[in-house]
Amino acid sequence: MASTLSPQTGEALKKSQRGTEESPFIKWTLVTIALIFCLIFLLLPLFNVFVQALSKGWSFYWSALTHPDSWAAIRLTLIVAGIAVPLNVLFGLAAAWAIAKFRFRGKSILITLIDLPFSVSPVVAGLMFIILFGLHGFFGAKLDEHNIKIIFAVPGIVLATVFITFPFVARELIPVMQATGTEQEQAALTLGASGWQTFWHVTLPSVKWGLLYGIVLCNARAMGEFGAVSVVSGGITGQTETMPLRVEKLYQEYNAQAAFAVASLLALLALFTLAIKTFFEWKQAREFKIAQRAVKY
């Protein structure tokens, strides 16, 4: 009797589950559509970058990357990110500390202001700096007198990049710092640590993953920014051309393979960013599980 009962319960179980699940046909149709969509809009564009970059062979690829103008663009991109990212890390830490650890009036206005660059078209952001520092801008004549160039020069590119990328670190840090609270810092202070010691040894270690992720995102955007930079750079080859601008210039010169070669470096940067993000999420999920287990026992 028992042996005939169990398959019945199995069948019944299957039936009851079917109430909250789609039929296999619908399930696999949806999965197929989703996969085709991802193939066309995510995977093909990605593969295409590398296939086109290498379509004329490794030696062409290598010579396209080591061309003096491309090399200058790579160097400028590294310099700009090397200035913009640390500045925004400093800002992100300061803003997150003030917003997450204290209560004050106007906090929500401050957060809205920090998010503002997300809602401004990069081209409009570039235009703002032209209005300020361009030859016909507010400070244009004064700067020209002292022979200082901001627009169509490296300082303008740095400014535009800082503007576009400054929310990234702050936005990652604020929720993490809010979640950790202030008890640990208060304990450190009570035990006689100075403010800086508390920050270095208590706060920073507890937000390190959020900070790292913010830096990686900020860096990816800083190196890849196109619209705002193209407005203020003037695109002088070898001088004010960043990697994305170099991609555009080569494409316009009908040198698509060289454009793809430079683009492939930026695509690698994007893949690296995604890998860090996935690693970070995995790490977070694991720490959450460990914390839950610790609560249980």
């Binding site: 109430g19 909250t20 989703a34 991802c38 209560r103 081209v123 703002m128 810092e185 890849g224 555009e248």
Partner: protein, 274 residues
Amino acid sequence: MTQKRFSALPGFNLTMGFTVLYLSGLVLIPFAALIIRASEITWADFWRLATSDRALASYRLTIGASLIAAVANAVFGTLLAWVLVRYEFPGRRWIDAIVDFPFALPTAVAGLTLADLFAPTGWLGRFLVPLGIEGAYSRLGVVIALTFVGLPFVVRTLQPVLQNLEREVEEVAATLGAGRLRTFVRVIAPSLAPSVITGFALAFARAIGEYGSIIFISGNKPYETEIAPYLIVMRLAEFDYAGAVALAVVLLVFSFMLLAAINLLEQWSSRFEH
């Protein structure tokens, strides 16, 4: 998290001072400069510059293409989020990781590779162009680029909501005799709607300002495939600063209205959660 009156931690004046200084220098002063320049233009001039035929054509393309792309993102984003949360299939984790690819990829690279894919000689174009579907150097190209750029928004706003959805409610609906389709339409869809709309609005707002990916694929023909941000760049290249400022103000006002709508939507959807 429980702070009674005032925090005992040091450094408020230092960090707050630096934050306000940095924000003023980078955001408030540039914004003020744009607004002052705009206010120097007479109303009649502003109207003429902001509503020229070429400008109107560019707004129509920018807004129209952004809307279509955001709708495509809402449909496929919902499908993708559903499939990623509810089903187990080979490659699921890889797809989940690569959904953020459009966020991480520089827009210039996105434009370059999409233009190449849909060009008559590209991997997709060689099949699509003979069928009359021209994805490169056309208005459709603008929609394609914007769909790519906005893809993660709906997926990422919807995923956590789907994960936290209580399966018991669906079981109750099934117990009460509702079919799967009816359960979806009457029980699941209403609780997903606020986040789908929020994701839609985020993708739409992002698309309005997008520049880098589009200029590679659209061809930038005046009146036909020219988006509003590109027209601003053209005005700047002609040293027509008033023209550029007028267009920028129109774009900014539109973006801020969208931002306000998104904030209202988020308040509305968070009320649903409680």
